[in-house]
């Protein structure tokens, strides 16, 4: 004979509970999407396989900074081998790979797995989605370059380099990085939003970053050798990489590595700013238009 079960010895189904708490609205939803996408860009909250590449690239990105600091500390040099403003451009290949990975991760997957209708069936509007994703990709790119800069900065201070010099240079480096991140985010996101296929997105972004860059560099070499060094600066307008290199050299006191080593004229410098702003605005406009229909 078995004893009857004690009256409180079973799991009670407490049934359905209503949610009476607050609903925080569109601004909160935008922030949530921003944070979620930012985490996703580094594979956080995703499977281990999705973490591998972004984290791996990030480690590679940080490696030169660590090495630099080690070199400065052991040899006692009085400046860092790579300037803060030039770090992003110097690491362009790794940065390009990361962008090609992160941008499709951010938008192509939503298109491919048709998650977009779930977003748009919630309080946010289509424009909110674009803003959140854009901000998120910009932030992830900023961190991607900014953290190695921070490592260099902290390291250089530990190595007792001049505090004032390092701080101004670091601040300039952060400004350069911000412009770098916004421009690349705009281009990368627009390309990625065109295709639900991640592979296409990756390939297209790498092409857009590298092909114009190498074309521009070759043209610069030709222009320099043919004795029109002024043209070199203007040619630089035609690729994202050279745009940013010229921008940081002209306005943030960095070094210009263009063939001929001639600083940009003021007119060319102004054109650089206008073109950078125009590209960002145009990409943003096209993105908004793209998402008026998508999903």
């Amino acid at each position: 004979m078995t004893a009857p079960p004690a009256p409180d010895a079973r799991i009670h189904d407490i049934g359905y509970r209503r949610y009476e708490g607050e609903r925080l609205g569109a601004m909160y939803a935008r922030c949530s999407l921003f944070v979620h996408s930012l985490r996703g860009a580094y594979g956080l909250g995703r499977s281990a396989r999705s973490k591998m590449l972004p984290i791996g690239l990030f480690v590679i990105m940080c490696a030169p900074a660590v090495v630099m600091v080690a070199v400065v500390m052991t040899t006692g040099r009085d400046e860092l081998p790579i300037e803060y403003t030039a770090y992003g451009v110097f690491m362009q290949p790794i940065f390009g790979l990361y962008l090609a990975l992160a941008a499709p991760q951010m938008v192509s997957l939503d298109l491919r797995y048709k998650t977009i209708p779930l977003y748009f069936s919630r309080p946010i509007e289509r424009g909110d989605y674009v803003i959140a994703k854009f901000a998120s990709l910009t932030a992830s790119l900023f961190l991607f370059v900014g953290i190695p800069l921070l490592i260099s900065y902290v390291g250089s201070l530990l190595a007792k380099l001049d505090f004032a010099d390092q701080t101004t240079a670091f601040a300039r480096g952060l400004v350069a990085t911000a412009v770098f991140a916004v421009l690349h985010a705009a281009i990368g996101l627009l390309i990625a939003s065109m295709t639900p296929r991640r592979g296409f997105g990756v390939a297209a972004i790498i092409s857009v970053l590298t092909i114009p860059y190498f074309a521009v560099i070759s043209l610069m070499v030709v222009a320099d050798e043919q004795g029109s060094p002024d043209a070199v600066g203007w040619i630089g307008l035609f690729s994202p990489g050279s745009l940013l290199e010229g921008f940081q050299a002209k306005f943030l006191g960095g070094e210009l590595e263009f063939p001929g080593d001639q600083m940009l004229t003021n007119a060319a410098g102004a054109a650089y700013v206008v073109v950078i702003a125009a590209i960002i605005a145009l990409c943003y406009f096209l993105l908004t238009r793209r998402y008026r229909k998508a999903g």
């Binding site: 049934g15 359905y16 708490g21 609903r23 609205g25 909160y28 977003y119 069936s121 919630r122």
Partner: protein, 328 residues
Amino acid sequence: MSVIQTESLTKRYPRVTALDRLTVDIGPGVTGLVGANGAGKSTLIKILLGLAPASDGTATVLGRNAAHEGGAIREQVGYMPEHDCLPPDVSATEFVVHMARMSGLPRTSARERTADTLRHVGLYEERYRPMGGYSTGMKQRVKLAQALVHDPKLVLLDEPTNGLDPAGRDEMLGLIRRIHAEFGISVLVTSHLLGELERISDHVVVIDGGKLLRAQSIAGFTEATASLAVEVTDSDTHPDGTRALLDALAARGLTATAGTGHIVHIDAPEPAPAAGPGPEAAQEAVQDVVHDAVRDVVADLGLGLIRMEQRRHRIAEVFQDGREEVRS
């Protein structure tokens, strides 16, 4: 109070008219939206969520105008799309929490509600695994959970049983029924399979080619055409039991027809006008009369009564009638 109201709602695309002057009034409860593929079901849902503008007419959801107050409506409405919508490398918990926060729930509430909702839809340990490895049934549950996680007042379920095997289908239908019965959330569920909606809906709206064919309660659909199926055995005195039963019933003034095998169908006679206070009471009174008559007749004839069951016409038949009416 009506949950969804449309007034000559029309949606024209360049080449097709998806909705054609649709006027419906849907109250609380489970409402089935029936129509063949391309009948305009998904278009209607898009307009109700405020995601697509109507070409003409108005739609009101939970008392708000879908054209102008889409955001406010979407805060109180859950939507489960027909197609796959789950990223494969994210766990169900992670995904549903994210969707809860997208609906405006603070972080801790989002976590609690996610755990609750996933339990209600029947997802347990597997909710921590990436969704890429889920079966169709599990994916459908997650899709349902993300539509319920913010405790909406209304959920729009687009073909929730699509791709499920019969057992999974039954479980999903049971869940949908519970959404209203236990959770108190109104449901609009679409399907092209009429049999399933019949089992779970309080009301059915049938649309075809963007036009309203019928909007009626399930009771109205089926009870009006209720009949009784009786199965009897043969006996020595009556070698053909069914024949004898038919004759005897005819003698009592009941219309009966022979079915397959030993089954006889008896149509319920029109209720007498003075039979009772309401139509339902009248219906019951008539059924009692028929049941008594069958019992008496079978006993008199000395036949064995194997079973006697209320047979409802399937909505499918009604739907077919409806189509013919409109086409002709």
